[in-house]
Every structure is written in C-alpha cells, then in structure tokens.
C-alpha cells in the first residue's frame, strides 16, 4: 500500500457511499447493543441500587463490605460478615455496649450466678411479624445449635451449658439441654461446670433467638434469603441479592426503635479489593472503609481523611510445631528463636502499620484481670534480644539433634501481611542464626489443613477472642484443643487450664492464667508478634458507629447523621 496519498483522491462515489452506510449501520448496531445491554444490566444482579454515601432526607447510608454473608442462619454462621449483619437484624438476651461491657437486650434483667443463670425477658420485645419474643425462641435456637444434625461450627460455645457437649456428641437428646423456658418470659440456664462469666458469652450472635414455627416452615432454608428470616433486632433485612448487595431497614417492631436513628443501611458493594473500596469511599459512594492496608495510608493521609482504628482483639504469633521428630521439638532451638524475636523491628520497620502493637505476651493487653489489665497484674517475662546467646543455644540444639545445618519450613498465608512477614523472617533468621527457612505459602484452607496435619516447623497464625475472658486464649494450647496446631502437650499447662475452668474464684483463675503465661515463655511454646488493630476512615457526618473487638466488628444501630461535621 504505497502512495496512499495520491490514491485517496481517487475515492469513488460508490465507495464513499458504502463507507457511510457501513459507518451508520455500525453506529446504529452499537447503540442498539448498548440499549439492550443496559436493559440486561438492570434486570441481572439485582439491578442498580447504589445512591450517595449519605442521603440525609431518607436518613440512609451506603457502604461496601468485604464479603457476602454465606447464609444467615444464626445457629450455623461463623464468619465476621454474617456476625455483623445478624447483630443488626437479631437481638439476643444481652448486647455488647461498644465499650467492652454489656447492656440489656431482650432480657430486661438477669441474675447470673456461678451454677445457673435466670433471664427475665421484656414484654415488648417483638418479632417483625408482631409476635412476642419468648424464652422458647431462645431454647429452640440453642438446642438447634448444639444438635449434631445442624453441624454448627460454633456448637462449642454452648459447652458451658449443661449437657450441651453430650448432645453435640450425639449421646443425648437435644431436649436435655440445660436451658429451660420456665414461662414465656423467664429463661433458666444450668451450667455444665461452675462458671463466672456466662453474661459475657450470652451476647455472642449464636445465642440469638430463632422462632420454631417459622424455622420449620422454611423447610431447611432458614436464613438462605431475606424472606427466609424473621427479625427482632434494630433492623430488618429487606433485600439481599447474593454477591451484590444487602439492604437493612429500620425495624418498627423493635422494642427500642426510638433509639435507632438511621432508616436504611445499604451494603451496595461487595468486594475484598482494598483499593476498590478506598476508591468508592473517596468518590463519595461509600460512607466508610475499613481494613485499610499499609499501602493505602499515604494517599488517604494526603487527602486529610481522618483515620480511625480499633483493636480487633487478635494476637498474631509464631506457631511452633512440637510434634516429636520435628527439629522445633528441641527446646534449645525454640529458645534460640525466642532470643532473636525482635518484635519492635517487625512491627515498626517491617509491617509499618501504625495501628499494630507489639505483643508482650500471648495474652493481649486489653484482657481484664481482677481489677486492671491482666498483663499489668501478671506482668509477662521480659524477652531480651541476645544474638550471641541465641547462637550458643543453636549450637546446643544442633548437637542434640545431630544436625549440621537446620532448615525449617515456615507455613504462612498468601495475604500481603503474611507475604511481608515471611520474607522478613526468612532473611532475618538466615542473617542472625544462619537458619535456612523454606517458605510454604498457602491459601486459607490449605494452610489450615497443613497446620492440622502438622506439615510445618513454624507457622504464622493469629487468634481472635470469642468472649471477654482470658480463657478464650488460655485453652488454645491445651493438649485437647484441635486449634493447638503445634500439638503442644504439657500436663502442667493442661492442669492450669482445668483449674481456671473449674474455679469460680477470680484470683485463683487469674493466677492460673499467669502460670500459663509463664509456661508459654519458659518453654518457648509460641512466639508472640503483635496485637492487630483495624484502620478505617469514615465520613465525618456519620456519628455513633460502634467498632469493637468482641461482637460485631461494626454496629450502625446507634449511628446518626449530622449535616455539618
């Protein structure tokens, strides 16, 4: 095709006409296609729902969430999104107050002893269809959760109640559960063992009520869709398009509806892409954004959005494999690792998340002891960095193990923090101790499976609390706990866990936890790294949002809007 310029003059009239027709037909076809696809978009995936982040007239907010709820049957849910949604839509006997305490829910008063508890239900608590919430609804929900046929992952949280474990094991009928409706408004609970903190467990979402007649009428689909649920909480789920959006609207039947200021909450975007969620926030499409990664801090600070943070209560640590035959079953090797565990550098120079705190112990700083914080009352042993001493310990370990070179498998996840941490540890342990670290990066499920199977030497893990008592951490390393991935087995530690489980004397319990804390250090059982906090940014015209470590991580039920911040 040379000489195009001269030939362009020769453009014949018919060719020009043909070009024009072609162009016109193409444009028309494209416009038609767009119209057709626009229609298709409006009828698929729930259609268009999203408005502005804040709608003052409608008293509505719009935001994004990281994942969809897999399903919303409270007896079976186990993920944080379901917990958050259900805590808006259902109300248990007691609620988390957002300041680490509890407040009345369906129960207006309660009498919690060390052997049993009695809850007195308010007479104006109603389901969204107008029927009263009764003690029977709680008994049914709890029996359902421990029923082996339900196969609830959270069945264990009921084990504090008499016969719950036996029912879950299929050894007793579900009607034997130690929770009884004395009348419609009085619920009595008997414990399996003496217990001091039952009121701290009851706000957990698995304790929410389920009404038997409605549950049975759904033929096994209870919680599958918005219409397969009844609500007794501050909000109702009015629209749930799987994978696309969840809409909550104020529940007029809620007994405390006057205290609920928002009329609607639209979770309009579901994506766990952090920068997409940040873009939605910056564009005014989402009222807030949480779980901000380290990389997004700079742009967000540059635009002067105020950052907030809340502790999610979790402690992240190096899980060590204690199974016989593993090099890490050798105390001197573990001690060497402990002597170079430079948590300051790890938190401040490697992870660089301003909200992360150095963990001084496996028991996080927020846990309460008798009066003050647990680690104030029972200070953990000071861990000093001593590379020379660590090398001596390593030599001892090598001699005892009969190895010249020690190489360890480090199991971790494929998320940004896990990648960063594992790369750091690999270089750091090579530099300080000359250890060869093989990083085994796995996605969530495979990582857990390998951990269960003991297919690792050291692994990065975190543990989040289920209730507000040191026990939620203390029994993790008991020999019978399946989440004790390293299979640490120390009768002395087990004994202390049992003492704390059986005693109702807070001093005795705290001393036992203090003893466990010392064992974890003295035997270098695990190496604590950091306590995690979540960073978030929020439109300043939205107030009163509760973000907390126990219970739903996010609670809009007391939130309200102000016109000018």
């Amino acid at each position: 095709m040379t000489g195009t310029k001269e030939r362009r003059d020769a453009l014949s009239r018919s060719a020009a006409r043909q070009l024009l027709w072609l162009g016109a037909a193409g444009t028309l076809a494209f416009a038609g296609l767009l119209a057709l696809l626009g229609w298709a978009a409006s009828v698929t995936g729930g259609g268009a729902v999203a408005g502005d982040a804040i709608d003052f007239e409608a008293k509505a907010i719009t935001t994004s969430i990281r994942s969809d709820a897999p399903q919303l049957d409270s007896s079976r849910s186990s993920d944080v999104t379901s917990n958050m949604i259900l805590s808006h839509a259902l109300e248990g006997l007691l609620r988390y107050d957002g300041h680490g305490g509890i407040e009345p829910g369906v129960a207006e008063r309660w009498d919690v002893g060390t052997d049993s508890a009695t809850f007195y239900l308010r007479d104006n608590a109603r389901w969204s269809d107008g029927q009263p919430v009764t003690a029977h609804d709680f008994v049914f929900a709890w029996q359902t959760a421990v029923d082996p046929a339900t196969a609830s992952r959270y069945a264990f949280i009921f084990y504090f109640i008499k016969n719950a474990e036996a029912i879950n094991n299929g050894e007793m009928d579900r009607s034997e559960l130690g929770a009884r409706a004395v009348s419609d408004r009085v619920l009595e609970v008997e414990y399996e063992n003496p217990l001091t903190f039952f009121e701290k467990i009851v706000p957990f979402f698995t304790f929410s009520p389920i009404r038997e007649d409605f549950y049975l009428s759904r033929n096994g689909r209870y919680g599958a869709d918005a219409e397969d649920l009844l609500f007794n909480g501050p909000f109702k789920i009015t629209r749930w398009v799987h994978g696309a959006s969840i809409r909550l609207e104020k529940n007029p039947a809620y007994w405390n509806a006057d205290a609920v200021k928002l009329n609607a909450i639209e979770f309009a975007y579901i994506t766990n892409d952090a920068s997409a969620r940040l873009n939605l926030f910056q564009d005014g499409r989402a009222v807030d954004v949480d779980y901000l990664p380290a990389e997004s801090l700079e742009p967000i600070l540059k635009q002067r959005f105020p950052l907030g943070q809340f502790s999610d209560g979790s402690v992240w640590y190096l899980q060590i494999n204690h199974r016989p035959g593993r090099p890490t079953s050798n105390y001197h090797l573990r001690r060497a690792l402990q002597l170079v565990n430079d948590r300051d550098e790890l938190v401040n120079k490697v992870l660089k998340m301003p909200s992360y705190k150095v963990a001084r112990s496996f028991f996080p700083a927020w846990l309460k002891g008798e009066e003050r914080s647990f680690i104030e009352e029972y200070p953990p042993r000071e861990s000093t960095i001593d590379v020379a001493e660590a090398r001596r310990e390593l030599e001892l370990a090598k001699r005892e193990l009969g190895l010249d070179v020690i190489s360890l498998v480090l199991l971790c996840d494929d998320l940004p923090v896990g990648v960063k941490l594992s790369e750091y540890l690999q270089g750091y342990l090579k530099r300080t101790l000359g250890l060869d670290i093989k990083v085994d990066r796995q996605i969530f499920g495979q990582r857990l499976e390998k951990a269960f199977a003991g297919d690792f030497d050291i692994a990065l893990f975190g543990w989040s609390p289920d209730y507000d008592d040191p026990m939620t951490f203390a029994d993790l390393l008991a020999s019978w706990n399946l989440n004790n991935y390293g299979r640490y087995n120390n009768p002395e530690l087990d004994e202390q866990v049992r003492i704390a489980q059986r005693s109702v004397d807070q001093r005795v319990r705290m001393q036992a936890f203090g003893r466990i804390q010392d064992i974890l250090f003295d035997d270098a059982v695990i190496l604590p790294f950091y306590e995690r906090s979540v960073l978030y940014a929020q439109d300043q015209r939205l107030r009163g949002v509760i973000r907390q470590r126990l219970g739903p991580y996010l609670d809009y039920s007391k939130a309200y809007l102000v016109e000018s911040p």
Partner: protein, 310 residues
C-alpha cells in the same frame, strides 16, 4: 452437515465428561476439604459437618453420586454458602458476566478489526508503530493493574468535574459497564489486532487484489470489499473461544468493580475448595466453551466455501 454436527456434539459430551472427571480427581487431590475452618475445636463438630455433607463416604461413591445428580441437571448445594444451590448461583450470576462479556467482546472485535486494518494500512509507519506498541502493552500488562488504574482514573475524573461522571464500581446500568468491559476486552482486542494485521498483510499480496487494482477499482473499495472481508475470517475463528472466555467472567474485573458475576464465584470456590461450586462452574464453563467451538466450526463452514463439513 447433520451427521457432522451430531458427531461434534457427541465428541463435546465426552470432552465435558472428561473435564468433570479430571476436575473431580484434581480437587480431591488437594489437601483439605471445604469444611476446613479456624473454629473446629473438636473432632465431633468436624465429624458432624462431614456427615451432613456426605464427605464421610468413600471418594468413589461421592463421584458416582455426584455424576448421577449432574446427569439430572442438579449440581448440588454449595458448601460455603450453605443454603444455596449451585444451579441458583450459575443462574443468578452468569447473566451478569454474560452481559458484561457481550459488551467486552463487542469492544474487542470492533477495536481489533479497526486497529488491525489501520496498522496494515499504515504498515511500518508511525500509526502502525504506536498501535503495535499499545498492543504489546495491552497483552503484557496484567488486568489487575489495568483495572486498578482505570478505576483510579474514574475517581480523578469525578473529582476533577466535581460530579459523578462515571460510577466507580457496582452494577445496574450501562454506565457501570463501560470501563469494566473495556478492561475485560482489552487483551482480546490486542490479540485480534495482531491477528487482523497479519491476515490483512497476507491478503495485500494476493492475486485477486492485484486483479482488482488492475480493474481500476478505487483503493477504498478494494480495501472494504476485497481485503477487509477476506481478512476478517481468521478473526471470526478466534471469536468463539474468546466469547466463551470473556463471558464466563473476568475474576479480577468483577472483584475490582464489585460486579456480582460468576467469575468471582469460580475463583472463590477454588480458594475455599467448595467442591460442588468448583464442579458446577467448571462443567458449565467447559460445556459452554466446547459448544462455542463447535458453533464457530459450523459457522466457518457456512461462511467459507473452501471448508467442507465432514
């Protein structure tokens, strides 16, 4: 013609069966199962879950049960979204992916043909060099980068005009689809541009072009009537598989633009080892792909008289 179609369809069914079996074997070979979770405090809870989902049965029995159900068109219940049927997941989310995919394919095909023809027309000159550079970029830059950057561009655009020109993410109108569709179709467009360019150049030297020139036809007419029409055939060939690949969803695009399509479920299912969703989506995609290839082969025979269907 009829016997050819029938033969291809039977081959297709065998292919899909093979895909299903291979997927079944592969996913059971991966350590763990969909019930693995962080809160499994005792063996009993785990056993209760396995019994509920039939995972306590031998793998071969599970295979037979699964295949039997699949023949009846039942892909089963999802493990991770415990009350949802896989059929419902495909039925609700595939139309979203397909809608987006059609636009992406339209962008890719239209752009590919236009850019490809242009580069051939301006061979070895500046427009050719620029377009081919962009083509190489479009093929080699991963889609999560393109998706992220284009979303950031939308935010800046809206900030610049102080008005919502385009939605940042979400679904529901044609405006939500424009940018995601372009990102989704980008690499296919680039591929088609290259294909179009080479097939155009091949034809430039063909005898019938020389004949047309000798007849004294105008270059535009030669270009439209003789070159373009013949050069577009190879592009049609790759269009079939491309439609199947694009309409079944771009995981990254759906994630970044918060689009409730099937692609996200497909990838999530693999990450969570959700057996039934993996099987359902793989078999569905596989069948769709095989079907599209057959359709293209048949269409090709109809378009090009040199190809006979036997």
């Amino acid at each position: 013609m009829f016997s050819y179609t029938l033969k291809r369809l039977i081959q297709g069914v065998v292919t899909v069966w093979f895909i299903a079996t291979a997927t079944f074997i592969a996913m059971h070979a991966v350590p763990g199962n969909p019930l693995t979770g962080e809160r499994l405090t005792n063996d009993r809870i785990r056993a209760n879950l396995e019994a509920r989902y039939g995972l306590d049965q031998p793998v071969f029995d599970q295979y037979l049960i699964y295949m039997g159900n699949m023949l009846r068109g039942d892909f089963g219940l999802s493990y991770t979204q415990e009350n949802r049927r896989v059929n419902d997941i495909i039925r609700e989310h595939f139309p979203v992916s397909a809608t987006l995919g059609v636009l992406a394919v339209a962008f890719a095909a239209f752009g590919g043909i236009v850019w490809g023809a242009l580069t051939a027309l301006y061979r070895n000159r500046l427009p050719d060099a620029i377009i081919m550079l962009l083509v190489i970029l479009a093929i080699s830059v991963p889609s999560f980068v393109v998706a992220g950057l284009s979303q950031l561009a939308i935010v800046n655009l809206n900030v610049f005009f102080r008005a919502p020109i385009l939605p940042v993410a979400g679904w529901g109108t044609i405006w939500h689809m424009l940018v995601p569709a372009m990102v989704l179709g980008l690499s296919t467009m680039a591929y088609m541009t290259r294909l179009m360019r080479s097939s155009m150049l091949e034809i430039t030297h063909a005898d019938f072009i020389r004949t047309a020139q000798a007849k004294g036809l105008s270059p535009t007419r030669i270009f439209l009537k003789h070159q373009l029409r013949n050069a577009v055939l190879p592009v049609v060939t790759v269009l079939g598989p491309a439609i199947a690949a694009i309409t079944t969803g771009g995981f990254v695009v759906e994630l970044v633009f918060a689009i409730p399509g099937l692609g996200r479920y497909f990838v999530q299912a693999v990450q969570q080892l959700d057996y039934t969703v993996i099987m359902g989506t793989t078999v569905f995609y596989g069948a769709f792909l095989v079907f599209m290839v057959i359709v293209v082969d048949i269409a090709y025979g109809l378009i090009d008289p040199r190809v006979s269907l036997q």
